[in-house]
Amino acid sequence: MFMLATALAIVRLRNLFASAMLTGIYSLLAASLFVVMDAVDVAFTEAAVGAGISMVLFLGTLALVKGKDRASRPKDVLPLIVAIATGAVLLYGTLDMPSYGDPNAPIHHHVADLYLDEGGSETGVPNIVTVVLASYRGYDTLGETTVVFTAAIAVMLLLGRARRRPRKNGKKIDAIDPEAPV
């Protein structure tokens, strides 16, 4: 509920700095919600990454960009209609889902039981989330690391040397200048 209020406030606010701050609060609320729903590992990560690192990134960008959301009010109603229509379809989709906390839901009776029963003895780690993440689905985690690595390289390329070159003010220039020394 608090998350709803925060999200709405973020959308309405013009001040980008306040929006970024509220994004942090939103992530923190999400993290506490995860604790309530027994997902402690996810809550840790969300609090550290969502509320921490992404806040730092947003504030860093704001310091570089110094913007204000100037558009007074979104003009056309098309986005609103699309959003409401998509939401309605998704809500209709939830009607077929098992209710919250139902122990008989199909999701709990496929491989989850296997992981819970055998995971501890097979790997010797009591935390099943860690077991699945690092052992059974180790390749996924490797792929995830690759994604983060690629993103880090891309950010470094975008914000690295090239950015410090002097450029014509306000005019568009090509991102890659062929004459620039490599």
Partner: protein
């Protein structure tokens, strides 16, 4: 539900799908922000809202009534489903990677065009094209 009776309110059942509905409404708020706002940073914030809403949806599915966190203990019988937790852990990290990349692109766009409003960028682009 025990929570309501503990604090003295009459027991009433929250609809079983409420969590999913909240997640979907949050998702649509994020979606709307991405579509309707001109400001690029606001768009990335909308993307973040959307992401977190998807996380909430998945973690809601993982919850089992009376279960605890999936960390093995001696006298615990019921655990929440660990699989969605694993998926969402991965998703959070990938999400921060995309956010970082998006924000870096915004910084470069601002360098090139002097603005981060979509409309103004389009105008500058047209000016350069003619």
């Amino acid at each position: 539900m025990e929570f309501w009776t503990e604090i003295g309110l009459p027991a009433f059942a929250l609809p079983g799908l409420l969590n999913y509905w909240v997640a979907i409404i949050l998702m649509m708020i994020g979606f709307y922000t991405v579509m309707a706002h001109e400001n690029l940073i606001k768009k990335v914030i909308g993307l973040n809202i959307f992401q977190a809403a998807v996380f909430v949806l998945y973690i809601s599915m993982a919850k089992v009534d009376g279960g605890t966190a999936p960390i093995l203990g001696d006298d615990i019988e019921v655990y929440s489903n660990p699989l969605p937790h694993v998926l969402i852990l991965t998703a959070i990290v990938v999400g921060i990677a995309t956010t970082a990349l998006g924000l870096a692109l915004i910084v470069r766009i601002r360098d090139a065009y002097g603005t981060i409003e979509e409309e103004e960028i389009r105008a500058a682009e047209q000016e350069a094209g003619t």
